[in-house]
């Protein structure tokens, strides 16, 4: 395997809450290969979105990211970077709510043309032509007419396509997706997922896709990381992680979503509440809610342990999940 596209090691995000520091992302490490789609799943507040935003330095006010982030735009060895160095140069992002992520006072054509005008020094007219090409690429019908429209005049699905076209306008090697389908209805969701998959193939672009929707992630991703309480608790090929969880949290998460096969077993909720980032449990952070917790679970320190060539788990007793 050649060099990685992105390497994140020991990423911490600290924020201030009522004057006290909290650490909603606490030691996330992951790597991504060229053209690969990595999913990050987790509950609200698990730190998945903050992890994603840290890569581009787009944390909310007061958020500070620390850790070793390396990226390689040209295929060489990944090198450390400042977020501003990759804005428009290799990494783009799309957000959950396309209505709020598009500038309401900019026509969508101008919005998409902004990147080419800044980074490729295109004239207004050339950039407009490029914007219309991009709109066609992401499947927006009659792009010439729609380029002159305002964001509020488009449907949710089209808005997200405009957002994707904007992200693609700078020809990124990595597209960060922050729950881009959550705000859309299901049929539009499928179209957007199909589009992302198609674009990955055509543009050889890697994707990190953050979502709480396991079904979406299973359909789209090559690999899947499960986050809990600011840490990755399990990572591996998406199909394996979903069908054979190696962490009790993953297993509980799978039991809480409707099955793909449509069998009618009862859905299981996870007892207790997602932990507060100001008061994480010591040891394994899932232990207080874990049905298999043992005494030594509260003593352990966090570490992702490989269980096979391509899988790792933070659980120290993954054998409890072995099928009887």
């Amino acid at each position: 395997m050649s060099e990685h596209l992105l390497e994140v090691s020991d990423l911490h995000v600290t924020m201030q809450r009522r004057g006290l520091p909290i650490t909603p992302v606490d030691g996330v490490s992951l790597t991504l290969d060229r053209g690969e789609i990595l999913g990050i799943a987790g509950e609200s507040g698990s730190g998945k979105t903050l992890t994603l935003r840290s890569i581009l330095g787009l944390l909310p006010k007061g958020g500070v990211a620390e850790g070793d982030l390396r990226f390689s735009n040209d295929g060489g060895r990944p090198a450390p970077f400042e977020p501003t160095e990759v804005h428009g140069h290799g990494i783009s992002i799309i957000f959950q709510e396309p209505m709020t992520a598009l500038n309401p006072t900019m026509r969508v054509g101008d919005h998409i043309a902004e990147g080419p005008r800044i980074h490729q020094g295109m004239s207004k007219a050339d950039a407009r032509t490029r914007a219309i090409e991009l709109m066609r690429l992401v499947g927006i019908p009659s792009p010439e007419r729609r380029a002159r429209m305002w964001p509020h005049q488009l449907s949710g699905g089209l808005r997200q396509r405009v957002m994707i076209a904007t992200a693609l306008s700078t020809e990124p090697k990595l597209l960060l997706c922050d729950e881009p389908t959550t705000a859309l209805d299901v049929s539009v969701q499928d179209q957007i997922l199909g589009l992302l998959q198609e674009l990955r193939g055509r543009l050889e672009m890697a994707i990190i896709f953050v979502s709480h929707d396991i079904a979406v992630l299973g359909e789209l991703c090559d690999r899947l990381a499960i986050m809990y309480a600011g840490q990755i608790v399990e990572i591996g090929p998406a199909d394996d992680v979903i069908s054979q969880p190696n962490h009790p949290y993953t297993a509980a998460l799978m039991a809480s979503v409707p099955s793909f096969q449509g069998t009618s077993e009862e859905l299981q909720g996870i007892p207790g509440h997602p932990p507060d980032p100001g008061a994480f449990a010591s040891g394994c952070r899932f232990a207080p809610r874990c049905a298999f917790a043992r005494d030594d679970c509260t003593q352990t320190t966090y570490e992702l342990r490989p269980t096979s060539d391509d899988r790792a788990t933070a659980c120290i007793h993954p054998e409890v999940l072995a099928q009887p």
């Binding site: 804005h87 428009g88 992002i93 992520a101 309401p104 800044i118 957002m163």
Partner: protein, 298 residues
């Protein structure tokens, strides 16, 4: 709505004490002379008759004749309006020139030194009364440098500009703090928005980000504040025109009120009301132009 304003102005002046006829004929005139003038002017008619007559004339664009100068009120107002239009336009321009950069800087450097300085200066500007600022500018700038005339409006365009500079600056010092406050707050909320995150992720310089993604969105909510502020500026003009001896509407109103020149007072008050309504209408139009989501229905 305008009819309501006319009625209120008319009634207010009817119930205020003081006899305009006495002001006209002078203190030494006899009771007979006084009654004669009163009848001549139709002031002995019933109040409602007088009101009907006033509205009737108004509908034909006639504001009556000044008791003092005997000139038509419309022509008095027209002369003075030019001066006040200069003052307000210059005042608004200076307000914007001060407020927009200051608000953007304060929002971008929120909580840092620049923000503190701008907010402190705003508080200072807010707490200084306009007439005092005006006098200070006259004493500390106009008199030592001789660049600006201490009063009057001048004859030529160049003289107008020089005469209007300090009064407009006085207005701007009083009104900028409001605009800065509002624009700073809306800029901060725009800077925290998702679309500015999108703008950042596209790359490019910060000034381009501010121009393309921030300014217009932040301006939308501050336009209303600016319109309200222009309403206040108009009344600020009353004080400032007196301080700088500018022959504008505000000064005219003060003179008319002192002389109990009822038609003139009514004329000025009515015009002020019309200007305020027009400014609010303009602000709605400006808002619709700035924000494509707002549509004006006729």
């Amino acid at each position: 709505m305008m009819l309501g304003i006319v009625l209120v102005v008319f009634l207010l002046l009817q119930i205020t004490p003081g006899d305009p006829v006495r002001q006209i004929v002078g203190l030494r005139a006899t009771q007979e002379q006084l009654e004669e003038v009163r009848a001549e002017m139709g002031l002995d008619d019933h109040v409602l008759v007088q009101y009907g007559r006033y509205v009737g004339q108004l509908a034909q664009g006639d504001l009556g004749y000044s008791y003092k100068s005997k000139k038509p009120v419309t022509s008095m107002i027209a002369d003075r309006m030019v001066v006040t239009a200069w003052l307000l336009t210059a005042g608004v321009l200076m307000t914007l020139l001060i407020s927009i950069p200051a608000a953007i800087a304060a929002a971008l450097y929120r909580g840092k030194a620049a923000d503190q300085v701008i907010r402190g200066a705003g508080l200072l500007g807010l707490s200084m009364p306009a007439f005092w600022v005006g006098v200070m500018l006259l004493l500390l700038v106009a008199l030592p440098t001789g660049w600006f005339p201490p009063g009057g409006f001048g004859e030529t365009f160049g003289e107008h500009v020089r005469s209007i500079f300090l009064p407009a600056l006085t207005l701007a010092i009083g009104s900028s703090p409001f605009i800065i406050r509002s624009l700073r707050a809306s800029t901060i909320s725009v800077l925290n928005s998702d679309y500015v995150a999108t703008g950042r992720s596209i790359g490019g310089s910060r000034s381009r980000l501010v121009r393309r993604f921030v300014l217009r969105n932040a301006a939308v909510s501050s336009v209303t504040v600016l319109a309200l502020e222009i309403g206040f500026l108009l009344f600020g003009a009353v004080v400032i025109e007196t301080t700088f001896a500018l022959p504008g509407l505000g000064q005219g109103l003060v003179l008319a009120a002192r002389g109990r020149d009822l038609p003139a007072i009514q004329g000025y008050t009515l015009l002020f009301a019309v200007i305020v309504v027009a400014v609010y209408l303009l602000s709605d139009i400006a808002q619709a132009m700035l924000d494509p989501r707002v549509e004006i229905e006729s």
